[in-house]
C-alpha cells in the first residue's frame, strides 16, 4: 500500500535536489569551517554562500543577520530568552493564546520567573483583534512574540502590521515572530514589508530540508543576548560547530521554494480547496476551522462534530493516509488542542478535528483517495457514537439534552 503523506506541517520529506546538495558536505567536504587549512576554506566558503543566499530570500537582509540554530524551538528560545536577558528592566511580554508550545511554554516560564505575560485571544475564525493588541502594549513591554502562520489551522497573522504598530508605539519593544510554518511558503521580505520585525524563527524540516537545522533572523542592533554560549561561531551569538551539510541543504531548500513558489502555491491551494469542498459536500456536520481568516494555502483543519480524532487517524493510518488531529487522545495530555480551544471550536467538535497539510509532492490522485476514504471513516465512528442518529445521518434529536445532562457538573 502506498503511503499518502498529508502531514507536512509536522515535517516534510527532504527534496531530492536538497539531498544532492548536502551530501558532499557529509563526505569529501566534512571539514570544520573554523579550521585554518586550505580544504576547510572551501567548507567555510560554502557556509558563507548558504548564509548569503538565505539572506537574499528574506528580501536582501545582511548575511550576518542570519543565525543558524538546530531547530525553530531553539530559535524561539534564543529570541525570547535572549531579549529578556538583554533588557532586564522591562518585565512585560505579549504573545497569543495560539502560539506553538516552543513560544507558549517559554513565555509561561518567564511568567514563573516574575514576568507579566499577556496572552492575546483570537476569535472564532482565529483572528486577533488589533484593538486588543494595542491595549496590551505598555511602557514596560519588553517583547512581542506573535507567530506568522499557525501550525494547526494555517491562519496567518498580520505580523508586518503588528510589528509596525508596536515599533511606532515604542521603538524599544522587541518584535519576534515564529515563522516556522510560513518560510518557504509565503514571501517574507524583512527589508521592506517586514522591516519592523526584529527577530524571525524558521526551521529546515518544514520546507524539504532535513531535521536538525533552523535559523533566527536577528536584525542588526536588536537587543538580544546569546542563548547557547561556548564558541565564537555565528559572530559569538550561537556557539557550536556549524551543521554545514544541513545549512547548505536549508539554503538549497529555500532556493527551490523560491524557484517553484508560484507553481507550488497554485497547485497546492487547488488541491486543498478541492478537498475541503468535496468533504463538505459528502459529510454532514463538519466545519473548516479558520476558513474565514487569511490562511496558509496548504493547511486544512476540519472539525467533525460528534467524533473523536484518534479513531479517525487510526482508520486513516490503516488506509496508508498520514494526517494529524487536535484531539486530546493523540497528545500526551488529556487536554484537547489549545489552539482549537482558543478559537472556541464547540466541544462537540474540538475532539474531532483533523488536520491535512499538503506539500508540492502531493498529487490529485492522493486527494481523490482521501475524498473516497475519509467520509467512510467519519461515518464509521458516528455509527458508534451515542450522539449520532444513524438513520437520519444527523446528530440525535436529544444530543443536546444528553450533553447538558452529562456536562452539568
Amino acid at each position: 500500500m502506498k503511503t499518502i503523506y498529508v502531514d507536512n506541517n509536522a515535517t516534510t520529506q527532504v527534496a531530492p535536489e536538497v539531498y544532492r546538495a548536502m551530501v558532499p558536505f557529509l563526505t569529501e567536504q566534512y571539514f570544520n569551517p573554523s579550521s585554518m587549512y586550505a580544504p576547510a576554506q572551501k567548507t567555510a566558503n560554502a557556509l558563507a554562500a548558504a548564509r548569503a543566499r538565505i539572506a537574499q530570500h528574506f528580501g536582501g537582509v545582511r548575511p550576518d543577520e542570519i543565525v543558524f540554530t538546530s531547530c525553530a524551538t531553539e530559535s524561539n528560545n534564543m529570541g525570547i530568552q535572549g531579549a529578556a536577558k538583554a533588557s532586564p528592566n522591562r518585565r512585560h511580554v505579549i504573545t497569543t493564546s495560539v502560539e506553538h508550545p516552543a513560544v507558549l511554554e517559554v513565555c509561561k516560564d518567564l511568567q514563573r520567573r516574575g514576568y507579566e505575560v499577556t496572552f492575546l485571544p483570537v476569535d472564532r475564525q482565529g483572528n486577533l483583534d488589533l484593538a486588543d493588541f494595542i491595549r496590551a502594549l505598555r511602557p514596560d513591554t519588553l517583547l512581542v512574540s506573535i507567530m506568522h502562520a499557525n501550525n494547526e489551522t494555517g491562519v496567518i497573522f498580520p505580523v508586518e502590521q503588528l510589528a509596525r504598530i508596536a515599533k511606532e508605539t515604542d521603538p524599544n519593544i522587541v518584535f519576534h515572530s515564529d515563522a516556522t510554518q510560513s518560510v518557504g511558503k509565503l514571501p517574507i521580505d524583512l527589508a521592506i514589508d517586514m522591516q519592523y520585525i526584529d527577530m524571525l524563527s524558521f526551521s529546515g524540516h518544514k520546507l524539504h530540508a532535513p531535521k536538525g537545522v533552523g535559523g533566527l533572523f536577528v536584525r542588526r542592533g536588536a537587543p538580544v543576548r546569546p542563548f547557547l554560549i561556548g564558541g565564537h561561531q555565528e559572530s559569538g551569538r550561537r556557539g557550536g560547530t556549524e551543521n554545514v551539510a544541513s545549512i547548505v541543504a536549508l539554503a538549497a531548500a529555500m532556493d527551490l521554494a523560491a524557484e517553484r513558489h508560484a507553481e507550488d502555491e497554485t497547485r497546492i491551494r487547488a488541491m486543498r480547496d478541492r478537498l475541503e469542498a468535496e468533504l463538505a459536500a459528502r459529510i454532514p456536520a463538519i466545519e473548516i476551522n479558520g476558513a474565514g481568516a487569511a490562511r496558509m494555502p496548504n493547511t486544512s483543519n476540519i472539525a467533525c462534530h460528534y467524533v473523536e480524532g484518534e479513531g479517525m487517524l487510526y482508520q486513516l493510518d490503516a488506509e496508508g493516509i498520514c494526517a494529524s488531529s487536535g484531539s486530546a487522545c493523540t497528545s500526551g495530555s488529556l487536554e484537547p488542542s489549545h489552539v482549537l480551544t482558543a478559537l472556541g471550536v464547540p466541544f462537540t467538535a474540538v475532539h474531532g478535528s483533523i488536520r491535512f497539510s499538503f506539500s508540492r509532492y502531493n498529487t490529485e490522485e492522493e486527494v481523490d483517495r482521501i475524498i473516497e476514504v475519509f467520509p467512510r471513516v467519519v461515518a464509521n465512528l458516528r455509527n458508534l457514537s451515542p450522539y449520532w442518529d444513524q438513520a437520519a445521518n444527523a446528530p440525535r434529536g436529544d444530543a443536546g439534552v444528553m450533553i447538558q445532562k452529562t456536562h452539568s457538573g
Binding site: 528592566n89 522591562r90 518585565r91 512585560h92 514563573r112 520567573r113 516574575g114 514576568y115 507579566e116 488589533l130 484593538a131 494595542i134 491595549r135 502594549l137 505598555r138 511602557p139 514596560d140 502590521q161 504598530i165 511606532e168 508605539t169 460528534y306 467524533v307 473523536e308 480524532g309 484518534e310 479513531g311 487510526y314 482508520q315 493510518d317 490503516a318 484531539s327 486530546a328 487522545c329 493523540t330 497528545s331 500526551g332 495530555s333 488529556l334 487536554e335 484537547p336 466541544f347 462537540t348 475532539h351 464509521n380 465512528l381 455509527n383 458508534l384 457514537s385 451515542p386 450522539y387 444528553m402 450533553i403 452529562t406 456536562h407 457538573g409
Partner: protein, 328 residues
C-alpha cells in the same frame, strides 16, 4: 506518539468500526438496564445497554443475554466497550455477578492498554455499574439489602475536585482505594482527574491531599506532603510615566481623550468624509492616537500620509504638540 496498542485492541476496534458480525455496536431497544458514563466535553462517553433473560420468580437470577454499546471516544475506548460486552455475554452473568467485572479484566482481555489509556477501561466498568443500578430499579431489586455497594449516584454528589472532567471527591476517593492509585499520575491515567488544567493537583483538598489522607496509615503524611507553593515575588514594574505630566498640557487622560474626540468630530472626520472615506479611533494611549481609515481611504496607498500630515498635524495644533498618530 505512535500507537502502542495490542493486536487485540486494534482488531476489536477495526471489527467494531466495520460492523463485523458478532460485534456489539448499538443500543438495545427497551433495555433491561441502561447506563452512561463520560461526556462529550471530556473526550469520551459511553452508553451501555443490556437485555436479560428474566427469571420467573427471582429477579436476582436474571441472566444477561445481550449487551450493546455506543461509544464516543478513541480507538481504545471503542475496543474497551467491545471487550466489556464480550466478557459479559460470554460469562452469562447475572447483573449482580456482572458487577464483579472490573477494569483490570477489560485491560487483560485487551492484552494490555497504554498507561494513559487506562481510563478507557474504567469508563466501561462505570457504565456497567450504572446500567446494573438501572436494572435493579426496574426490577425492584434492593441492591443495598443484598449487600451490593453501588456508587452510581455519587457522581452527582459531593464537592467537585477535578473541574475539567467534573469528578467529585467521593468518586475520586473510592477510585484511589479500588484501583490502588498511589500518585497523581496514577489518578490521571486511571480516571483522567487532573489531566487537563492540573490546577487540582496541589490545592488544599486537591488530589495530593486525597492521596495523603487515603494512604496516611501506611506512610507518614509528612513524607508525602508537598509544601504549599511559595508565591514568587513579583518584580516591581518599570514606573509608568504620568500621562498628564508627559503631555505637559495638564489634561487628565479623560480630558485629553475628549479633546481628541472633539477634534475628530468637528474637523478631521468631516474633511475625510468629504472624500468618501472615514476614520475611526481604535485607542488612545498617553499621547499616541491609534486610528483606522475606512471607506474610500481604507485601500488608498496614500492613507498613511493622510493620517500623518492631516490628522496628526491638526491634533498637534489643536490639542497637544506631542501627539503621534499611529495607523492601524
Amino acid at each position: 506518539m505512535a500507537w502502542q496498542y495490542s493486536e487485540k485492541t486494534k482488531q476489536l476496534f477495526m471489527d467494531a468500526v466495520h460492523g463485523k458480525p458478532g460485534t456489539h455496536l448499538g443500543e438495545i431497544e427497551n433495555p433491561d438496564g441502561i447506563g452512561e458514563h463520560g461526556s462529550l466535553a471530556c473526550g469520551d462517553a459511553l452508553r451501555f445497554t443490556f437485555r436479560v433473560k428474566r427469571h420467573e420468580t427471582d429477579p436476582t437470577r436474571d441472566v444477561i443475554t445481550d449487551a450493546r454499546y455506543l461509544t464516543f471516544g478513541c480507538t481504545s475506548a471503542i475496543a474497551a466497550s467491545e471487550a466489556l460486552c464480550m466478557i459479559i455475554e460470554q460469562g452469562r452473568y447475572t447483573p449482580i455477578q456482572a458487577l464483579s467485572v472490573r477494569n483490570d479484566d477489560i485491560v487483560e482481555f485487551l492484552e494490555g492498554l497504554p498507561e494513559q489509556k487506562i481510563h478507557c477501561s474504567v469508563m466501561g466498568a462505570e457504565a456497567l455499574e450504572a446500567a446494573v443500578f438501572n436494572w435493579a430499579q426496574r426490577r425492584g431489586v434492593d441492591l443495598a439489602r443484598l449487600g451490593v455497594d453501588i456508587h452510581a449516584a455519587e457522581q452527582e454528589e459531593g464537592r467537585i475536585v477535578c473541574k475539567c472532567f467534573s469528578l467529585s471527591e467521593p468518586y475520586i476517593r473510592r477510585k484511589i482505594k479500588e484501583l490502588n492509585l498511589r500518585t497523581i499520575a496514577d489518578i490521571t491515567g486511571a480516571i483522567k482527574a487532573g489531566g487537563a488544567c492540573m490546577s487540582c493537583h496541589h490545592t488544599p483538598g486537591g488530589l495530593q491531599d486525597l492521596l495523603n489522607e487515603t494512604w496516611s496509615n501506611e506512610k507518614k503524611t509528612s513524607d508525602l506532603r508537598i509544601l504549599p507553593n511559595a508565591i514568587p515575588p513579583v518584580a516591581p514594574l518599570a514606573e509608568r510615566p504620568d500621562p498628564a505630566a508627559a503631555g505637559g498640557s495638564g489634561l487628565s487622560p479623560y480630558q485629553f481623550a475628549k479633546r481628541v474626540e472633539k477634534a475628530f468630530d468637528e474637523y478631521i472626520r468631516p474633511m475625510i468624509q468629504r472624500d468618501g472615506g472615514d476614520v475611526e479611533i481604535i485607542d488612545i494611549k498617553d499621547r499616541l492616537v491609534y486610528c483606522r481609515l475606512a471607506g474610500a481611504c481604507a485601500d488608498c496607498a496614500g492613507a498613511g500620509k493622510t493620517l500623518k500630515f492631516l490628522v496628526e498635524r491638526h491634533l498637534k495644533d489643536s490639542v497637544d504638540e506631542q501627539i503621534r498618530v499611529i495607523q492601524v
